[in-house]
């Protein structure tokens, strides 16, 4: 658009730099809206592609042009007739897919259902296919199993959908209810989507509960689990638990044998906004109640705290678990990722490279060709 400076609207627009490209003098109202609306922003969810890509729908025109001759028109009429008859027989509603990869389902109690079908107690070969949902009522329980994955037991009043199962990823969605997972697949293979976080198995067994309001709780009994949402990660080792709430994502994990005051303070810290008095009080309680074992929670607090709080947490953490070589106070206060990783590894709760590997595989990296291309572009664009 040509800007005419004599037009008052254009003149105003020329002063709209902050709205246009976030430069110039910040507009307080726009800043307020940006802050208010930030939670509606796209979460960093990876794209899940099917193993087989369906064929592209052919264009009508591309089909029509080769047919523009009389013999072909006659053939087309025949095809149309056949298509009409086929359509007649196939237009009834179809049940959920019952083909392709599936997991074994066993009835442990009552009458769990896949779609409208109840699974009989002695049914030998019940299967849950990708896209199907298994539902248990108040009196029923079921189990899912897959030879190279492990077993997932589903408690009453639960709803679980099988989202993906292939060589590299097994994924289910827990809408509501409780599952107990015992997984022997390699770390990072088994993923559970919940309404408020994604749980990534890192070699373990655990219990995951999702309430009807979408909030959840994860208790790890062996190994460790990663909980992830909106770039916020929580690691839950054996003996620890972590709560999660819609949009907030995973909270700060803590060991279940921590003092009640410590646990209460962690919950308070998670639920209170920055700069609130309650949050300051909760942080003070966390730091005073923390044992060396609770360094798990303090490590997570480092990245959830603001700059002032972080300095306090860092001091207490260092008093409980001396930082290893290569970790400096300044680096931690600046949230240096490699230093945070080093300090985490010194806790002996799990090797964080497992998680970093999962992040890299979950978020696709450029192919060699693409990387080369992008590097060339970047070098060309430099002055």
């Amino acid at each position: 658009m040509t800007k005419n400076p004599t037009n008052p609207e254009n003149e105003k627009m020329l002063n709209d730099d902050y709205l246009w490209n976030a430069s110039g003098t910040p507009d307080p109202e726009i800043q307020r809206l940006e802050s208010l609306l930030a939670d509606f922003r796209q979460a960093d969810r990876a794209l899940i592609l099917p193993a087989q890509i369906p064929a592209a729908p052919r264009r009508f025109r591309a089909l029509l042009i080769p047919m523009l001759s009389l013999p072909r028109l006659a053939a087309a009429a025949g095809i149309l007739l056949a298509a009409g008859l086929t359509l007649f027989f196939f237009t009834r509603p179809k049940p959920a897919p019952e083909a392709g990869p599936a997991w074994d389902v066993a009835n442990l109690q009552g009458s769990p259902q896949i779609g409208a079908k109840a699974i009989a107690a002695n049914q030998a070969a019940a299967k849950l296919h990708v896209g199907q949902t298994i539902v248990t009522n108040a009196d029923s329980r079921a189990s899912l199993s897959q030879a190279d994955l492990g077993e997932i037991r589903i408690d009453p009043n639960s709803r679980v959908r099988l989202v993906q199962t292939d060589a590299n990823r097994k994924r289910i969605q827990l809408d509501v209810g409780t599952i107990h997972a015992a997984i022997w697949a390699p770390p990072g293979t088994f993923v559970v989507d919940t309404p408020s976080a994604v749980a990534i198995d890192l070699g373990c067994s655990y219990t995951l509960h999702v309430s009807p309001d979408g909030s959840g709780e994860l208790h790890t009994t062996y190994g460790w689990v990663g909980f992830h949402l909106h770039g916020r990660d929580s690691f839950i080792p054996a003996g620890a638990m972590c709560s999660t709430r819609p949009a907030l994502g995973p909270g700060i994990p803590y060991f279940e044998d921590a003092t009640p005051a410590f646990r209460e303070a962690v919950a308070q810290f998670d639920s209170n906004s920055e700069n609130s008095a309650d949050r300051s009080a909760a942080l003070a309680k966390i730091l005073s109640e923390a044992r060396a074992h609770d360094a798990l929670s303090l490590w997570h607090l480092l990245s959830r705290a603001n700059a002032t709080e972080r300095a306090e947490v860092c001091a207490r953490f260092a008093a409980l678990v001396p930082p290893p070589n290569g970790v400096t106070r300044a680096g931690i206060l600046n949230l240096d990722q490699s230093m945070l990783d080093l300090w985490w590894n010194s806790l002996g709760l799990g090797e964080i490279s497992t998680w970093r590997f999962w992040q890299q595989s979950a978020y696709p990296q450029p192919s060699a060709n693409t990387q080369e291309l992008l590097q060339k572009k970047q070098s060309l664009s430099k002055p």
């Binding site: 658009m1 105003k12 627009m13 709209d16 709205l19 246009w20 490209n21 976030a22 109202e29 726009i30 809206l33 940006e34 208010l36 609306l37 939670d39 509606f40 922003r41 796209q42 979460a43 969810r45 990876a46 794209l47 899940i48 592609l49 193993a51 890509i53 369906p54 064929a55 592209a56 729908p57 993906q164 292939d166 590299n168 990823r169 994924r171 309404p195 309001d213 979408g214 909106h230 709430r245 819609p246 949009a247 907030l248 994502g249 906004s273 920055e274 890299q360 595989s361 979950a362 978020y363 696709p364 990296q365 450029p366 192919s367 060709n369 693409t370 080369e372 291309l373 992008l374 572009k377």
Partner: protein, 210 residues
């Protein structure tokens, strides 16, 4: 995810990097590579364009359905990519798929589940963000989103991309295939209308009190 990470190598070989480099920008090169079956290139396109798709959908459908629909849009786009003849039109083409998917969403949704601005706001505790917000600021966020959604199509899409997705005007233009001029005008006028709506809400008329 895994399916992406396992597929770095194109099936039938994309154009050579140098040739691609000389004939088009990085997005063009990625689109061309994706057309040749390079899923990593498609994953990169997803990384670059998913915010735009998210914003377009958020302008039209309930927040709780947007993430799933973003996936749908890219899954619809992937097999159709080979039918895209003018690679430079990829942004507009993808935006159209997103808008059509939103329309289709409303067509397929049962009447009782129809998107309703009021009920969408009311169900904020389960389907919308409350992170780091008190219930008051969450309600304010919903009110602001609803106000943007009440604007004409032309204004609400760029405003959501700017205020929610955090894209700048030039980014919006590049991602949607619109000109800088149209995006700037739409942002400016949309913001003016939004200020009026929010101003009215902040100071409701006091008629009757004499």
């Amino acid at each position: 995810m895994a399916a992406l990470s396992e597929l770095g190598a194109p099936r039938s070989g994309p154009p050579a990097v140098n040739a691609v480099h000389e004939t088009g920008g990085p997005d063009d090169a990625l689109v061309r590579a994706a057309q040749h079956g390079d899923r990593i290139a498609f994953g990169l396109l997803y990384a670059r364009y998913s915010r735009m798709v998210h914003g377009i959908l958020l302008a039209r459908v309930p927040f709780s359905d947007v993430d799933d629909l973003v996936q749908d849009v890219f899954l619809q786009a992937l097999p159709r990519l080979t039918t895209l003849r003018e690679i430079s039109r990829f942004p507009g083409w993808l935006a159209s798929i997103a808008r059509n998917r939103a329309t289709d969403f409303h067509r397929r949704t049962k009447p009782t589940d129809e998107f309703d601005e009021q009920s969408d706001s009311a169900q904020s505790s389960t389907s919308a963000p409350s992170a780091n917000h008190s219930s008051h600021s969450s309600a304010e966020a919903h009110a602001a989103l609803d106000a943007i959604r009440s604007l004409p199509d032309t204004y609400r899409e760029p405003l959501i991309l700017r205020l929610v997705e955090g894209m700048t005007g030039p980014e919006i233009a590049a991602r949607t295939g619109l000109t800088h001029g149209s995006v700037r005008v739409n942002l400016h006028r949309g913001m003016q209308q939004l200020r009026e709506i929010l101003g009215r809400k902040a100071s409701p008329p006091t008629g009757g009190a004499q």
